[in-house]
């Protein structure tokens, strides 16, 4: 059977939409009616069928359109993809991981055949059929990280582990929530998290780093993060702030349902075997309010979360400008009744 890939855009006319099945599988990030930071990390193991966790690397109906959007971003700004010289081995590690996982989860769309270090990779949705020598960069059209992340949904940061810290030394970042790889490249874990409010005081990053530097091969972990985006735009980068920042001033009571999107990041963490680095895929899921509120539990809960969010967090997430309009709109869908525990729709 396989996935029916949508033809859609994440810019200009913004034709991005979720099918009804994709609305139900949306990774809604709130398990209760309030939100505060926590080290919400858990083992990244396979979840229920029909959820985004059915496979450890998720491919969905937006795959082809997202890869086309990535190609457009890279054509305009090649610095969205960078790899410091010592990170090539980690790039091969990532290529192996993503090819294996995509071929395992979606055999109708991807096939990997290995004969020693001669590998053949077939990517049917994108019309790719390449044979190359694993470990020999000259046999691929791009470096190994760029090659495979042009064919994989989500952003990817590869972190080098040394001196008891993690270093942002390579990445493909085109679907980010207002941060810049070009700015963060070469920084360590505390440096690139410096702008986050409240969490440093709670000691969250010290504990998180300790956990991450101990991630073991074969035992990936994950967490969810979230923000909100006006229009279904994947590339909300600081480099392009002039294109999307002003959108926040365009929200009106009439267009909230169509313009305001909940943006959820499924972040996972994997030890890479040859380089001993960590790869950190950040997979972005978007859903517009009109789609989200088709699940009454999510509508009630989101209303309460956004209404009660501490101001520092609302500011950091860039919600301040349109929060009152959004809360007012959501309040009409909240009859005050209780919500069931857990993330899923009723």
């Amino acid at each position: 059977m396989g996935i029916t890939f949508r033809k859609e855009t994440f810019r200009d006319d913004f034709t991005f939409k979720n099918s009804p099945e994709h609305i139900r599988r949306f990774p809604f990030p709130f398990h209760e009616d309030a939100y505060m930071y926590a080290v919400n990390i858990e083992p990244h193991v396979v979840g229920p069928k029909g959820s985004v966790l059915e496979n450890l690397i998720d491919v969905d109906e937006h795959y082809v359109a997202e890869m086309q959007d990535r190609a457009l971003v890279l054509a305009e700004d090649p610095l969205r993809c960078q790899s410091l010289p010592h990170m090539t081995l980690a790039g091969w590690d990532l290529l192996e991981l993503l090819m294996e996982q995509q071929a395992l989860g979606y055999p109708e769309h991807f096939t990997l055949t290995r004969d020693g270090d001669r590998w053949r990779w077939i990517n049917r949705p994108l019309g790719i059929d390449d044979t190359f020598t694993f470990g020999d960069t000259s046999t691929l059209p791009y470096g190994p990280m760029e090659y495979i992340t042009r064919q994989s949904q989500g952003d990817f940061c590869i972190l080098d582990q040394r001196d008891g810290n993690l270093w942002m030394d390579a990445g493909m970042v085109t679907t980010q929530a207002d941060w810049s790889l070009d700015f963060d490249i070469g920084m360590n874990f505390f440096e690139w998290h410096a702008p986050v409010p409240l969490a440093h005081e709670k000691g969250i990053f010290v504990r998180a780093l300790k956990f991450l530097t101990n991630i073991q091969q074969g035992k990936p972990a994950r967490r969810l993060n979230w923000t909100m985006t006006i229009n279904p735009r994947l590339d909300t980068s600081p480099e392009n702030y002039h294109k999307w920042g002003p959108d926040r001033a365009t929200v009106t009571p009439e267009n909230v349902g169509d313009k305001v999107h909940l943006r959820v990041e499924l972040q996972s963490f994997w030890r890479l075997p040859r380089s001993n680095g960590i790869v950190f895929p950040i997979r972005c899921y978007l859903i517009k309010m009109d789609e989200l509120v088709t699940q009454p539990k999510w509508a009630r809960r989101l209303h309460r979360v956004i209404r009660d969010l501490p101001d520092e967090l609302a500011n950091y997430k860039g919600l301040t400008r349109f929060r009152p309009t959004l809360v007012e709109w959501l309040s009409k869908l909240d009859d005050g009744s209780a919500t069931s525990p857990g993330f899923g729709p009723d």
Binding site: R162, Q217, K219, R274
Partner: protein, 321 residues
């Protein structure tokens, strides 16, 4: 499952005596599949079923990371140790089914280095076997200085010389040959990283000299697994699980906790990785800290202990386990 890593079901595919003290063990997967890829410097924890006891000892992987058909480790027999190495030498035979952990690397190469300067003492050669294989395959720049007691106890010295020729320098204690450490440390090109694995005295010597020559600590890497030391027996109360246990002379505190059916996380069992760090609820007595994880301040505070290598002497100890 008690550990921080996934387990691998393996079969002993070969046992090869290397010299009077060292024996090499080969493991393959029981299902015939390839083993997980690893990076040079990684170790596995080998589970030994020794009668009633389960011993868990870490050993460096010494094969080439490019060949994952089998894992190989080399075990030096320690006649006065706690018995893990003796078990390996006396009881482990080809065809035996065993369990090892996934590889874990706490002694990783810094891949930014322009040159890798490696110093090995005795059985500390094993992680360098894998690291040199990895670097040689990538055309990496390395130099290995290996000191051993005598030529006949120079484990793999011949193999290394044959593979890497003049990139390997050997030093024999019985011939009074010594690594000219000061000369080495003062003549390296910029961008060199230093790696040392061997007895504690050697590691401390190299680290001290490197510091006095102005080497930044980020460029000095060392593998320092402390073996748990035997000591006087002591009693411990585990507050969370409500158990009181006795730690025998030859047992580590971590092993005693595990024997009582409580499973703290662990990775290295050598006082390095920090996984089994345990809070102290109360105590009346004296800690014998042997780890390299807690700070001196934490050691003095009486609030934390690393049960894999540290012990206690005194009237009472209550742990948050």
């Amino acid at each position: 499952m008690s550990t921080g890593t996934t387990k691998l079901d393996v079969v002993v595919s070969d046992v090869v005596p290397v010299n009077d003290l060292v024996t090499r063990f080969h493991f393959r997967r029981r299902d015939g599949e390839l083993l997980p890829t690893f990076s040079g410097g990684a170790h596995v924890v080998v589970e030994m079923r020794d009668g009633e006891r389960t011993r868990l000892n870490p050993y460096s992987l010494m094969g080439s990371p490019l060949d994952t058909r089998e894992y190989t480790i080399s075990v030096r027999r320690d006649d006065v140790g706690r018995g893990g190495s003796l078990f390996m030498h006396r009881n482990v035979r080809p065809g035996m089914e065993m369990v090892v952990s996934y590889p874990v690397n706490l002694f990783s190469l810094d891949l930014r280095a322009k040159k890798h300067l490696m110093l090995a003492g005795g059985i500390g050669i094993t992680p360098f076997m894998a690291q040199t294989a990895q670097l040689a395959a990538e055309g990496g720049n390395f130099e290995l200085h290996y000191t051993c007691r005598t030529a006949s106890l120079g484990t793999y010295a011949d193999v290394l010389r044959e593979r890497y020729d003049r990139r390997v320098r050997l030093y024999h204690d019985d011939l009074d040959e010594r690594i000219e450490l000061d000369r080495l440390l003062s003549t390296q090109p910029l961008g060199t990283h230093l790696y040392v694995c061997g007895p504690a005295g050697m590691i401390n010597w190299v680290r001290d000299r490197a510091a006095s020559f102005g080497w930044p600590s980020e460029t000095v890497h060392f593998e320092h697994f402390a073996a748990p030391q035997p000591g006087l027996p002591f009693d411990v109360t585990l507050a969370v699980s409500g158990k009181t246990i006795r730690v025998d002379e030859q047992q580590s505190l971590l092993e005693a906790i595990e024997a009582a059916g409580v499973d703290p996380p662990y990775l290295c069992r050598g006082g390095v990785c920090g996984q089994c760090e345990t809070n102290v609820v109360s105590y009346d007595g004296k800690f014998i800290h042997n780890d390299h994880w807690l700070s001196e301040e934490e050691h003095r505070s009486g609030k934390k202990i690393m049960p894999c290598v540290s012990r206690f002497e005194g009237r009472s100890l209550v742990l948050e386990r």
